[in-house]
Amino acid sequence: MADIRVPNDLWNADETPEGVVANWLYRDGSEVGAGDTVAEIMVEKATMEIAAPAAGRLTITVPKDGVVRPGTVIGRIDES
């Protein structure tokens, strides 16, 4: 299993502690490829992309509009 994690340095959390999951670009249970853009995170109004760390089946753990911080795990890839 590979975690889809909001990178720790994606934004300056001292300035803005929280962001949200703006969009998921695949449905829960989809097969995704390594490096595919799977989600968007929005902090204030800036939107950043999150890529799948591995190929496999996607499980979404933080849905759209969920609040996130750097390091939050938002989903998992089942590589088996």
């Binding site: 949200v20 204030e44 109004k45």
Partner: protein, 328 residues
């Protein structure tokens, strides 16, 4: 042309008020928009274009104006509205969309109209130029020495409406002053990528009018250029184009991720803050005391606080109010 002590204090008041207004508005705008930025949420929804940093352009010009002089401004209007003497309570209520606002909430922040002081603004780039030209025409037809000032951004200097208005104002020798606030960015596009000349004041030659460039956001130089332009216009000697090199501290609109702007640019600009510079000049050169400056600042802030409180306490419009005032 040197400002008197009273004029310096007037400009300091206008600038400090505008700055505190914008900083207060920045916070108010973000209410209800965190952690998820939803542009339609909160007490001040929609777009918001703040002018912090650009105060010299407003104060240095409007210090020379009377109530019967007309000012047309842009989608970034607050500092100009304040300097022109727009009713601060009604303006803030308008931005909050309240019934007690200048237009009962119909216009919002980009469409502020106060006929008591002949101030109007528009959200369409370049569309301040034509109406100011018309106000100048009206003054001429009415036989007064009133003048008109059109504010534009440096991006608007590439819009057809700008060029047509300059030609018309010059051809008919109208009492109009065109003030370009060059804040270096047209949303994400720097001036070097939008404009064929580095300095728009040279375009005045193409329209047979004087062109003046003011560098480095210098309030006193704006004062001087505007003073001469207003005098010229009142004498009947026609229009002037002034371009002021200024800066905006905030993004194009609130929420602008500003991916296009160097990260340390704003920090460098704040080191040259025009309000700090004016205050220092007033105190060092014009006999204003620290106490007088502090008093002016604190009164300005109190007025702004009262205006925001007025807006917050005011009622919303009734939904059917939307149908009124389409026609006279």
């Amino acid at each position: 042309m040197e400002p008197t002590k009273n004029q310096l204090l007037w400009m300091y008041d206008a600038m400090a008020k505008a700055r505190y207004y914008e900083d207060t508005m920045a916070k108010a705008y973000m209410e209800g928009k965190s952690p998820k930025f939803d542009i339609g949420a909160g007490p001040v929804p929609g777009e918001m274009h703040l002018s912090a940093g650009q105060e010299p352009c407003a104060a240095g010009v409007c210090v020379h104006l009377r109530f019967d002089d007309t000012v047309t401004a842009t989608h970034r209007p607050h500092h100009v509205a304040i300097a022109k003497g727009v009713d601060l309570n009604k303006m803030t209520a308008e931005i909050y969309g309240k019934r007690s606002g200048l237009a009962g909430g119909r216009g919002g922040h980009m469409h502020l109209f106060d006929p008591a002081v002949n101030f109007a603004c528009s959200g369409i780039i370049g569309e301040s130029a034509g109406p100011a030209t018309g106000a100048g025409l009206a003054a001429k037809l009415q036989g007064t020495d009133a003048v008109a000032v059109a504010y534009l951004g440096e991006g608007a200097a590439n819009q057809g409406a700008f060029h047509e208005a300059l030609n018309l104002a010059s051809l008919w020798q109208l009492p109009v002053i065109f003030v370009i606030e060059d804040n270096a960015w047209g949303i994400s596009v720097p001036k070097s990528k939008s404009t064929a000349v580095p300095d728009n004041s040279v375009r005045a030659q193409g329209y047979n009018m004087p062109g003046v460039h003011v560098a480095d956001n210098d309030t006193l130089k704006v004062f001087e250029a505007a003073g001469e332009a207003v005098e010229r216009a009142r004498r009947g000697d026609g229009p002037t184009l002034i371009e002021v090199q200024t800066y905006r501290y905030y993004g194009h609109f609130q929420g602008d991720p500003e991916v296009y702007r160097p990260k340390d640019e704003v920090a460098h600009l704040k080191a040259r803050d025009p309000i700090d510079r004016l205050r220092k000049h007033m105190i060092d050169q014009a006999g204003v005391t620290e106490a007088e400056a502090d008093e002016a600042l604190s009164q300005a802030q109190a007025e702004v606080d009262a205006a925001f409180e007025f807006a917050r306490q005011s009622d919303d419009p009734a939904p059917e109010d939307a149908l009124e005032h389409v026609f006279a």
